[in-house]
Symmetry: D2
Subunit: 390 residues, 4 copies
């Protein structure tokens, strides 16, 4: 992945909604956007608090006249400028994804949006209707799909190296909500445990959707129905902090998915295991440069990013040699780099290059169907629930 910029290194002008001082994911988006030098951040509606907006903009080198009070003003003003933003990153809590996304798409600005897509399925559908017909792109930052060895895994499944997929196991296990830290106002915990800002899903939405997306991205399986048990273990918590799910897929594959935020000792243990009639794969987010490939009846093989056994789909999105670990930010940056390629193609009036890959509005809808089905299943006592049609 060269850091070269065709077209005389014209960086894509980027705006940001959310991501003011103290935000975690906003800073991540900015580092991701910078790493491969395809974007330049020039505008923002960074906070609902005017003072914080001004301060954040100054820190980030955004000109005062492009530090907006809200996304509506930003969309209108930037659309009107000859040097207005070409793309916007939406890094707000879940309840503030759909409205700005719609506004910017309608203003002719590409959208890069955090996940999960929306507060609920209806909202998501309304956005999907807009996005599907828009000439502008909608990119969802399911960032783990940016990892080279996740690409490798997907490619190996697609090539049939695992045979027919039979069993999948996805986990996303954390411990940071083991205690009621939202009570003390911890910013990240505060909105994630609030139904008004997170939607009906807690752990299932925040991290369960990542595990579900990863599972689908790698295997290509189509989910049919699920049986979910959502729990709130921490007294006073308003949303699930642990979710355990059985999954049925078209074609007969079966799966388990576990997401937890109350499992002490687990930091960010996103892990995927896939088993087919011919072999298996195992990938773990905390060791992202490795991929176990276990062809049945042969020794286990440890494939490494940029090492022997890693193919072109991994190489395309790999920056440095084998053994020099790439991590979370690099994978996130790959979503931005892929977005940049697609945006440049779109601006040239061309279709997205075949090998460019990023999560779309359809992945966002799939995530919302997953949350919706899981919440419904659990609410009904843990019954099998079909994935809602959209």
């Amino acid at each position: 992945m060269p850091d070269s910029n065709p077209a005389s290194h014209k960086r894509i002008r980027l705006g940001m909604v959310g991501g003011g001082q103290g935000a975690f994911i906003g800073a991540v988006h900015r580092m991701a956007a910078r790493l491969d030098d395809q974007f330049t951040l020039v505008a923002g509606a960074l906070s609902s608090d005017p003072a914080r907006t001004a301060l954040s903009a100054a820190e980030l080198g955004i000109a005062p006249d492009r530090a907006y009070a809200n996304f509506e003003a930003m969309a209108a003003a930037e659309a009107a400028r000859p040097d207005g933003i070409e793309a916007v990153a939406i890094v707000t809590p879940n309840h503030l994804h759909v409205a700005p996304a719609m506004a910017f798409l309608k203003a002719g600005i590409h959208v890069i949006c955090d996940k999960p897509l929306a507060l609920n399925l209806e909202e998501a559908q309304s956005l999907a209707a807009v996005a599907r017909t828009s000439k502008k792109l909608f990119i969802l930052t399911h960032n783990y799909t940016g990892h080279p060895m996740v690409r490798q895994a997907r490619s190996m499944v697609a090539q049939g190296l695992l045979g027919d997929i039979r069993v999948v196991n996805a986990e996303y296990v954390q411990d940071w909500l083991t205690q009621n830290i939202e009570a003390s106002g911890q910013k990240q915990a505060d909105w994630r445990t609030d139904p008004a800002r997170s939607g009906a899903g807690g752990a299932v939405g925040d991290i369960g959707t990542h595990a579900f997306n990863l599972l689908c991205f790698v295997t290509g399986l189509q989910p049919q129905s699920l049986c979910a048990e959502l729990s709130r273990f921490v007294p006073g918590r308003r949303l699930d902090d642990d979710v355990q799910i059985l999954l049925r897929f078209e074609g007969g594959a079966r799966g388990m998915l576990w997401a937890s935020q109350v499992a002490p000792g687990n930091e960010n243990a996103l892990r995927l295991r896939v088993y087919g009639s011919k072999g298996g794969l195992e990938w773990s987010q905390e060791e992202p440069n490795h991929l176990w490939f276990t062809p049945f009846g042969e020794p286990k093989r440890l494939l490494t990013r940029a090492g022997a056994g890693a193919g072109p789909d991994a190489a395309r999105v790999s920056r440095i040699p084998a053994g020099h670990p790439e991590g979370y930010l690099e994978a996130f940056a790959t979503i931005y780099a892929e977005a940049a390629k697609a945006i440049r193609a779109a601006e040239r009036g061309e279709a997205k290059p075949d090998d460019v890959l990023y999560p779309t509005i359809e992945d966002g809808l799939a995530g919302m169907r997953f949350i919706t089905a899981a919440v419904a299943s659990s609410a009904a006592g843990g019954v099998w629930q079909p994935f809602p049609e959209v």
Copy 2:
């Protein structure tokens, strides 16, 4: 664990039902019985094939007159001898556990029996009725409970170091039945995939019960109900080769249990994770000398068998210094060593020493309840099913 024998080193006279040439688990029981030098094998009904019986007995140094054609003959003859066996190991397939177990108990001989307990719950209950009133002991070889670090884990949960248990995750994952090897007559696969000899559960009975037993042994949780999905992935297979289960426990804890025999790359991946309000534990059978302890908010700690952090319950059943791995046979041998202590106490008319610990008829019943509930849940389409009363 000294290899000393009080009472002038009088080894316990042991007989064996099953375990003729070519058997896997019979040989394991014999090595386990030998390791700590508490037993001497002197009689056997090793095979239903007379020729194999004779040959096996010769190989094992069993006198020809104590190589019996069947367990009935053995029970009768040994009970009548002044130097008759004091204990019998039953190492036959599942359908041949209950009848010999009853026969030997009734003949006044202690029983060490392989798992799962029986072909079905009814059979199991009939044995339980006998065992509960017998003066002789019934020991079930859920061998993984013999591992020092499993004892350590159980002890730490009991001491409250994890706080209230919230979430448990148990897995037992293998790959040896990825293909239809029973079709070619592979002896181990043959009976395990045959309902007539295995019972209604395939993977759920053969290895799921181990995972379930381990989970209960360590946590002390009481299961309430489960929702199970049993699958037969290999064409032509007659019993489940993969089972995925959600579990509810008294007190509100939730769990997942996955057992598979069709997950390429997994050899014998029995693994337990337990999370409470104060901390977590993780143990894996393939690295049995290690136990992760993760008190919330503190660095993860790797406890090692006989090393720093391992307490008296682990030390009691540990033979060699830290860093010298003990394995599968050692843990199995601990079941025999514990059995020997209990048998000696019983023979002295004493109660079992408090610290001596082995799986009993009640654990066997619990396993049968688990199989029964899982099969019923899955047969009904994956509905929550209470654990049957017994």
Copy 3:
């Protein structure tokens, strides 16, 4: 580590010597410089080939008039511009470090230079003489010192948590030179195996110096003498591809250092182990977010970046939460971020903030003393050789 820029986000203007198309380390420096948004690349003497210079500059968005034919021209022109570069990154092979470094320092421009410092000790000393008296900073990119858990390790040793250091073991093991790829002109191998461009050390200079620097950085030990065995295993190779060293330190500590480029299966296995009278530490570059801490007589502890047990020195240079791996580029970026802080302080006429930490000209000299001693020891048949005075 916020991505904020005091002083109205005035990025430091950066030039680059070397790093034209196809270069590995040049691209790494650029990504590192971008990640935390403290630098902007505006000038370069990117290649000795004019065509490649022009193309590379265009790709990188460097204006044509600031794409120089050579570093001398660049130093002169940039020093004369009001908007000239404030710092330069030197990313050429070893034989082209000293001359440009001197030129830019003399031109009043801060220098960020790749390692090892120079072609030989004499050259290094001449540069040191200049750097020590310069008002401009000299920063050497021993990038592994940028890892949070390396900072953590250093801090723990300094706090005395390991007691008196007794034994250290440093390794840097690779396999990419297992075959004679320089014969086929592979660019990275070509110059690294050429004494004219690498100096007298092959593996010992290229990666041995990293291991040595890491060892000294973490432990603070002062090396006294060494006994080295340099080998050239690949037929036709002109420099060592494997080096094995015994080390004596002031105060009595003893160490081993092994660097190899011919150990199949090793990608970039830089690893440090430190043992003292009270405890031990272990860190591995391929899992940089982890640090084992093993206080004697207590359970082993796995400290994690941004997790429990990681202190302020790690937190200072950590960007994202625990469990989200940071990697090679992040650590490299930290050298740039630290450089930026020091440069900004210097420009304000202030001393370097106490907590800001980066390798200096003295570390570069130490590395050259190490190479020199190792080459001399081996040439004399593997005799103990004192570290040369400088």
Copy 4:
């Protein structure tokens, strides 16, 4: 490895010298001898203390008249009995290996002896002279050669799968002597740190010889010379507790060997890495069922005991299926099982079967040459020292 006994299960009658109450290695030898049911312990000179001798014998089921006061009496009496011992296990400290070994060989009794072979090279040579001409076998318990995956490694090197061996790295790292526990009389530490009972080598003899033996066993390399640094880090210690060695082999291979007993956090970290022109191998005693095989340019492969990729040499000495870990005792038992096969062949007047493999007097001599050279090298200030001729 069946537990069958041809010849009507005639167990080999075994005696033991040393191994009374409280001994570590004696108990290990007994468990090892029992596991595969080829030996029966019937006589012993278990302790120099008559009371402990009697007690130990009683505990072990040794008849009082075969519990001897010393090895001379035992050798004489047992040689005279028609049912006298056929083999003896010598499990005393180093200074008490040679005399009993000679006595039993001369009495026509096979010898199984702990390592290192002797107190010094002269003693070792005198024993070798006897052993080489004796009709009875001498087996040295370098137990780590019994591990299936060590056999596998040896076989792969011999087959040329690694190409020409270039670099080897052997380590045996412990922490149990981090403090001066010999001062408090800890039995294991007491004699191991006493030159009168251990010989001139401390760590180098106790564990360094294991690492050296393993290295030679797997690679078949012939050592030429070494350069050693022996250290005594713990105040008051009389023998080295850490040793760091460079090694030269015939044919040009180079190696490092590190043994330490003062590296906190290491329990019994014996590890071997071997690299050749075509590939590498890595094995670690604490995970003995695994072997990494890294053919150059291909993905790393994890071979497992009894799993895919493990060949007949591993299978011969493997007892249970893949994924069921075998450990320290099993490998030790394999030395006994191999000894039994060789003893039975010898008793039939046959040569040792080709595939039967155990360490011999020559390995013992090699170990003594290693200790001798290392001690001499270090005493001379760390100069290269040839391996002494024998």
